[in-house]
């Protein structure tokens, strides 16, 4: 056995350091650029920048776009449906965390 030197691959946190262009976001989510534009006009995603070429997607855009793509594909939701579902899911997530805290409260015997 020889000693192998491990090179640890450093990534960048998309939500902190990466501002994706529309092309990058389309590739990362396997979604046509038209669909990205439709999501933006529906308010599912809110990029910075004026025109589609200048758009920069930051924050949780990648996560939202991935979820939107899955929901549209798997459940055949339409655009307003996806926008509503994403907002509700976000709220549900918060409620679940709160519930988790309530259940974990140590005063229950």
């Amino acid at each position: 056995m020889s000693n192998t030197h491990i090179t640890w691959i450093e990534g960048s946190i998309v939500e902190h350091e990466v501002h994706m262009t529309m092309v990058e976001l389309a590739e990362a989510t396997c979604t046509p650029q038209d669909m990205i534009m439709a999501w933006v006009s529906e308010g599912v995603l809110s990029p910075a920048g004026g025109s589609p070429q200048d758009w920069r997607f930051s924050g949780n855009s990648l996560q939202r776009a991935k979820t939107a793509a899955r929901l549209m594909h798997d459940l055949e939701l339409n655009l307003p449906g996806v926008a509503l579902a994403l907002d509700l899911l976000e709220e549900l997530d918060q409620l679940r965390s709160q519930l988790h805290l309530a259940n974990a409260a140590p005063n229950k015997e």
């Binding site: 990534g11 960048s12 998309v14 990362a28 996560q63 140590p106």
Partner: protein
């Protein structure tokens, strides 16, 4: 390989109409969708339901499946009949997540064909996604993980095949649940000199028994006795990294009043905060002396906790 009863999976009769099948699928898909349900095993169920629907919604595939007869029971050992020809099903509609059972019936032809598609002269490799789970302390301190992934690669003949690859990944301090780590150029190979695709790792954080995590902020329930809350005290509060912080509880602290320890949440450029949430715990009065203590308390106060309720 086990036989799968797709009708049973969707909970419909073998004679179900296409509409009934679609209805059953939609209902189950909404229930078990991994973005919607956090139930254990939901993702597994969702895949099974999706696989069943992929076959039963397509009249040709359904006919081929039905042709195998209804004598098969779910879970029975199965191999496709010798005269079975899967070559006709090549519509590439399958995400690649199907069971062996499904693949043996419908995917072999499609897979063999996929390598022969005409390719543009040069193209960027496909981006890939995977999910990894870390602990809360990893988000505080960073971590190193070796992950195994199945990745596409080209052989000498330019055919695409799947290859097991191990990646040593450094997980940066300050990453939060739901965030993605982009490893540039670590996914599918480019074609004809094109760049390799990017690998995206979605981060999940295991639920912690003590702390609740909300983005970059972390919450801790702090049990206090009634006299500690009423008179004030000093307590040692553990942080997720194991350090102890001395926290002064002011007299008259009500339950639920969050106390913020600035910058002690998940670190990052703008570090999160650690919130301590007091929780007042009542000791139960068991011995006569304890009961007497409560009675003394009662006598000392003119306390009307329900004064805001009418009647």
């Amino acid at each position: 390989m086990k036989f799968k009863d797709y009708y049973e999976t969707l909970g419909v009769a073998r004679t179900a109409s296409p509409d009934e099948i679609k209805q059953a699928y939609r209902k189950l898909a909404r229930k078990y969708h991994p973005d919607v349900s956090k139930e254990a095993g939901a993702e597994e169920r969702f895949k099974e339901v999706g696989e069943a629907f992929a076959v039963l919604k397509d009249p040709e595939k359904r006919a081929a499946y039905d042709q195998m007869g209804s004598n098969w029971k779910s879970g029975q050992d199965f191999s496709p009949p010798p005269d079975w020809n899967s070559g006709g099903f090549t519509d590439g509609d399958f995400g690649g997540d199907q069971s062996d059972f499904f693949e043996s019936l419908f995917c072999r032809g499609a897979r063999a064909q996929a390598g022969r598609q005409s390719q543009p002269r040069s193209a960027k490799g496909q981006d890939q996604h995977a999910k990894i789970m870390i602990d809360l302390i990893d988000a505080y301190q960073g971590a190193k993980r070796t992950i195994g992934l199945s990745m596409p690669a080209y052989d000498d003949q330019g055919q695409l095949f799947m290859q097991e690859r191990k990646l040593d990944v450094s997980i940066p301090q300050g990453i939060r649940a739901g965030q993605n780590l982009r490893l540039a150029g670590q996914a599918g190979p480019g074609f004809g000199g094109g760049p390799a695709g990017d690998l995206y790792l979605e981060i999940g954080i295991h639920p912690d028994p003590i702390y609740r995590i909300e983005g970059k902020d972390v919450f801790l329930d702090l049990p206090l006795s009634p006299w500690e809350a009423a008179l004030g005290t000093t307590v040692n509060v553990p942080t997720p990294t194991g350090a102890l912080l001395e926290l002064t509880i002011p007299p008259g602290t009500p339950a639920g009043r969050k106390m913020r320890l600035k910058g002690k949440g998940i670190p990052s450029k703008e570090a999160g905060d650690l919130y301590v949430v007091p929780n007042i715990v009542l000791p139960s009065a068991e011995t006569e002396a304890q009961k007497e203590a409560y009675r003394t308390l009662q006598g000392a106060f003119d306390f009307k906790p329900r004064s805001h309720l009418k009647g």
